[in-house]
């Protein structure tokens, strides 16, 4: 939908109105006011055209005085003054025409008749202008609501696209390639484990992709996703990866944006565990302090292992998503101590019931 289609329908409406106006004016001139048919037609057609011009001009006074954004008295005053001036102008031109018809076209008596009926014509011009004002305001309102609808639709599509691309970016392709390589190795060494890993990988992908549809999920769902993720990484890293979990029972129903913790775990693996020949640990802590939920992801890391290559995309993503949902009510702190890298998230604790 665009503005031009509204313009077209407005033009045709005005055209039809103009035609009707000419017919009614002509007929009235003949039947009520005793003009000859020829004189009535000669007078009615130019005057109807002129009236249409005036009706169209109402579009500009309406646009410059939009409803709802202009004080009512101002709208009333503007249009009343415009109606009086335009009606006066319209009748004036009509009179000049009648005068010319009287002398120039030898339609004697036209001017005399016009003078008799001109008080009615003032009324017609005045009302016709106001009618046009109503018509244009209606048109503007229609256009505005259509635009608002389009805007709302567009922004919701954009938000969804952004969310989807953020989620897609979070499935690290190298994680997939490495996992598939592990499966490839296991197929001959240990087929049963290869099958387990296929299933774990499928579960992980299904959960990850399915979560994209939801704005929030309970923590327990994120935990089950982390379980799958860690099970896969344990196959790759074996003894090098140790996990510790301290999750308070009352936090499990708390809501959070999906895939908030997974990128933090992935960071811990890529920049922590994978950089240490002997491996290391990842620890997750979830606690509820009154109406706040505190989530901490810690991992062992070697500050000298050259993991300064971490570019922080994952962390920034988490921060952005927290901000999008909780605004200033959420905090993210990342700190690197001697041998521990820690990310602490705090935000309002919501559950399905309190939401």
């Amino acid at each position: 939908m665009d503005g031009s289609s509204i313009g077209k329908s407005a033009w045709s409406a005005l055209g039809i109105a103009g035609l009707l106006f000419a017919v009614i004016l002509g007929a009235t001139l003949v039947t009520s006011w005793g003009m000859s048919w020829l004189a009535a037609v000669t007078l009615a057609i130019p005057m109807a055209l002129l009236a249409q011009g005036i009706a169209w001009s109402a579009r500009y006074t309406c646009r410059t005085n939009p409803l709802g954004r202009t004080e009512p008295w101002r709208i009333a005053l503007t249009h009343l003054v415009a109606a009086i001036v335009l009606a006066y102008l319209w009748v004036g031109i009509g009179r000049t025409l009648a005068q010319w018809m009287d002398s120039g076209l030898a339609m004697t008596g036209t001017y005399k008749r016009f003078q008799d009926i001109q008080k009615h014509l003032y009324g017609v011009g005045f009302s016709y202008y106001l009618l046009a004002v109503a018509f244009h305001y209606m048109l503007l309102a229609q256009k505005e609501s259509q635009e608002a609808q389009e805007r709302a639709l567009e922004s919701s599509v954009r938000a969804r696209e952004a969310e989807l691309s953020a989620l897609k970016a979070q499935i690290n392709p190298h994680f997939l390639y490495n996992s598939l390589n592990s499966i490839s190795a296991l197929t001959s060494i240990d087929p049963a484990r290869a099958r387990d890993m296929c299933v774990a990988l499928a579960d992980f992908l299904r959960l990850t992709l399915g979560m994209g549809e939801k704005a929030v999920i309970p923590l327990r769902e994120e935990l089950s996703l982390l379980d799958k993720y860690c099970a896969i990484e344990k196959v790759r890293f074996g003894e090098r990866l140790t996990l510790k979990e301290e999750v308070a029972e009352e936090t499990k129903e708390c809501l959070l944006p999906p895939l908030l913790l997974q990128p933090l775990f992935e960071n811990a693996v890529v920049h922590g565990i994978a950089q240490m020949p002997e491996g290391g640990w990842i620890r997750l802590e979830a606690a509820r302090n009154g109406d706040r939920l505190a989530l901490t992801v810690e991992n062992a890391w070697d500050p000298e292992a050259g993991s300064s290559r971490r570019n922080g995309v994952g962390l920034r993503n988490v921060q952005r998503r927290l901000e999008a949902r909780y605004g200033n009510a959420a905090q993210l702190q990342a700190s690197a101590e001697e041998n521990v890298f820690r990310v602490k998230l705090q935000f309002p604790a919501e559950t399905e019931k309190t939401k």
């Binding site: 190298h174 490495n178 390589n181 499966i183 490839s184 190795a185 994978a274 020949p277």
Partner: protein, 254 residues
Amino acid sequence: MSGADKKWKALIVDDEELARKLLREMLNSHAEIEVAAECGNGMEAVKAAAEHKPDLLFLDVQMPKLTGFDVLELIEREGVAVIFVTAYDQYAMKAFDVHAVDYLLKPFSRERFEAALERARNTKPKKGVDAAELAAAARPAGQFAERIVVKDGTKVSLIPVAKLDYAEALDDYVSLVSEGRKHLKQQTISGLEMALDPALFVRIHRSYVVNLERVARIEPYGKESKVAILTNGVKLPVSRTGYSRLRKLLDEKT
């Protein structure tokens, strides 16, 4: 490769056990190849390479501490056919810069693996490979080195560039001075200079590159030349062009 009658010695370097097992399994059907050692990280690889003198090297890129490229900087390259094995495709160009025979992307098929072996067989390994070229290839494009790898005898050291005081050219080697210790590395000083961030390190002399943060003051020395005095008291000669470079950098900082 050497004569067909002789067995090839292969080294498998990957930090994931399963990845190593996979390579070993695929090599099983090749009686002419013997796996001399499996290494779980770069340090082990450098040691094993010195010990076994392999003909064939399967090398992962992303490993703890030393990357695959670091390993290549530190081992004797002559007569070694290198096949990179990694899940990351972004190092492929670099791999060819360091004259790798092939680049296997994980996961790979048996056919692809055989093709890589075939290439290794048919490629005459380059004699010497320029160390500076290797070092340049080892770091991400458009970035400067964050650390320098050196081998003192059998021991491998990583020197973070922030801890490097200065470097001195000694024929085909550079002497890297860090925390009161000197490390020798086979590299030209120009090669080293290119690897370092020009905002932090400056070539003050034909034979010297200095860490700007270590420079305490500059004093005149003789008629024409100047000398830089470092925070630890060490004096280094400064040439005329070196002085103008130094001035320019210091002016930018203030």
